[in-house]
Amino acid sequence: MNIHEYQAKSLFKAAGILIPEGEATSSAKHARGIAERIGPPVAIKAQVQVAGRGKAGGIKIAKTAEEAESHAAAILGMTIKGLPVRKVLVEAALPSSAEAYLAVAIDRAQRKPVVISSPAGGVDIEEVARKSPEKIVRTLVDPLVGLKDFQARAAASPLFQDPSLVKQAEVTLKNLYALFVEKDLSLAEINPLVGTEQGIVVALDAKVITDDNALFRHRDLAQMRDLEAEGPGEAEARNNDLSYVKLDGALGCIVNGAGLSMATLDLIKHYGGEPANFLDVGGSSSPEKVLVAMKILLADKNVKAILVNIFGGITRCDDIAVGLVSALEQLDVRLPVVARFNGTNQEEGNRILQQANIHTAETMDDAVQEAVELAQGQSAP
């Protein structure tokens, strides 16, 4: 789960990482008050979970409290990359003499947390990785023993030229790692980590991604969820133990299993169609789940046809069939439906569908091809 910069900074502050003095607000007038309290110049930063806020005009420096208010008013009205700006962070604009990059992430291949440090801060780290990979130091941490002091020293040393900044950065690094472990994070990134003109090391930006699987033991993090930042239908799916991602096409899909679901979408494109969504209805065969899945799918008005692709292992095809027939009836669905059942009780499942006049296909390729044609041929009712 992503969280906003101001939320990430509050976590940093609690972990002993220095951040610019500041406060988030949804009111331009309040922004002025914060600016007066902190003392200009201040940065007004749009709180949206996308990269490229600055380029979109979502970050402005205000030299007076009045300017803070007008900048805030302008930014609060913006939509950046499809996301409405509901809050701005008003914080002290600190002149910096040096900018570095510091992050803690998971190295999946090595199965270890990794500290990533680079003197190339304030730029796109992926660019740095492409153009000057030698500027990036990756320090793998053995999770059985944690981050050792000698590792922290080595990881911090390339960050700044000034030894006093390096010493502070070492503390920041240790605190960042401790936060990462304590809060079950997937990513904790500071870009840029700056040395201010006063010689203090401060996290100028903060990006944190939390581990969804661990939210059950971090109520404070779970409460930071921004429902607006999620795509339509995702929250409802999540609450019903389904996975849903809205896409742009006209062919709605219901599949059991994430890999099979992705493969189905790929096959739709392969045959010239456009999927409307990813939807993994998961391992259970319950009719209630099929009903919820269908509701979420139909909320997307672009959907012109529906493809149901089930490979029943433990999931029973006849159970899904019953759920599907019932959902189509209850929701009065007029769109064409193609279903492909394979696996446990497939004959019974197909019989139930055929009795309800729902078209069934034998193979996944057949089903996808037929569904693609239906989605393209179907005109709006």
Partner: protein, 291 residues
């Protein structure tokens, strides 16, 4: 020969009295797997599907002598079950559970490796050596014994592929679902190396998906160390970046972990990549006749 599990594998079910544990204990027994008992703390002395239930895994191992366990325990307690299995010095532990915190699994997988226990999963359908042993939730009827090793990050997509292989007369030596989480106790590379050393396996089918770099590392291994042919399929060419596609591990971070990147790495290692699951059997035949 098969890899990791075979006729000598004897299984304990951790979480046997739960809904999934009891159901799959029955399914495994029906397949012919030597399931010897199970564990649910507090339910020692009971019976499930005619199998004895123990309070602790240590007791279960002492009484039955089993060498493998499969975990159907809810996410909050599953990693403790993994440790219990490693402490009991089991040869193989298969963790079916989805939703285990990544940090927990980072530590547990490193620990299991250090202790010499093969951990498969989590968030996986398990491992099947057709005709010999099935540990997990894969549907038994899709398998047939044969020379094709199958390794996959998926569940039902694996069944689809295996079903196609069986229908094409291409039976399997062992099929392993390594799981859909970011951290897998056993990864693609680990399995490829085992298949390379297995006399029964003549070719390998690798099923990948977006997220991480497992397929890229596997490709490097295939190019440098593998003599047996590998055929691949990668799901998620249509996936948008930044969105979790079901599996916790199926997410494109920035530009990292795209299907396109994985397909390119595999093709550069001379691994044919199928454009659809249905194409796999034909590519396997071609690879076998060329080798």
């Amino acid at each position: 020969m098969s890899i990791i599990v075979d006729e000598s594998t004897t299984v304990l079910v951790q979480g046997i009295t739960g809904r999934d544990g009891s159901f799959h204990a029955r399914q495994m027994l029906d397949y012919g797997t030597k399931v010897l008992g199970g564990v649910t703390p507090g339910k020692g002395g009971e019976q499930v599907e005619g199998l004895p239930v123990f309070n602790t895994l240590a007791q279960a191992v002492e009484v039955t002598g089993a060498n493998c366990s499969v975990i159907y325990v809810p996410a909050r307690f599953a990693v403790d079950a993994v440790y219990e299995a490693v402490f009991a010095d089991l040869k193989v532990v298969v963790c079916i559970t989805e939703g285990i915190p990544v940090m927990d699994m980072l530590i547990a997988s490193n620990y299991a490796r250090a202790r010499g226990t093969i951990l498969i999963g989590p968030n996986c359908p398990g491992i099947t050596s057709p005709g010999k042993c099935k540990v997990g939730i894969m549907p038994g009827h899709i398998f047939a014994p044969g020379p094709i090793g199958v390794v996959s990050r998926s569940g039902t997509l694996t069944y689809e592929v295996v079903n196609n292989l069986t229908e094409a007369g291409l039976g399997q030596s062992t099929c392993i679902g390594i799981g859909g989480d970011p951290i897998a106790g056993t990864n693609l590379l680990d399995v490829l190396s085992l298949f390379e050393a297995d006399p029964q396996t003549k070719a390998v089918v690798l099923i990948g998906e977006i997220g991480g770099s497992d397929e890229q590392l596997a490709a490097q291994f295939v190019a440098s160390k593998m003599t047996k042919p590998v055929v691949a399929f990668v799901a998620g060419q249509t996936a948008p970046p930044g969105k979790r596609m079901g599996h916790a591990g199926a997410i494109i971070s920035g530009t990292e972990g795209t299907a396109q990147e994985k397909i390119k790495a595999l093709q550069e290692a001379s691994i044919p990549v199928a454009s659809s699951p249905a194409e796999i059997p034909q590519l396997v035949r071609q690879a076998l006749s060329a080798s």
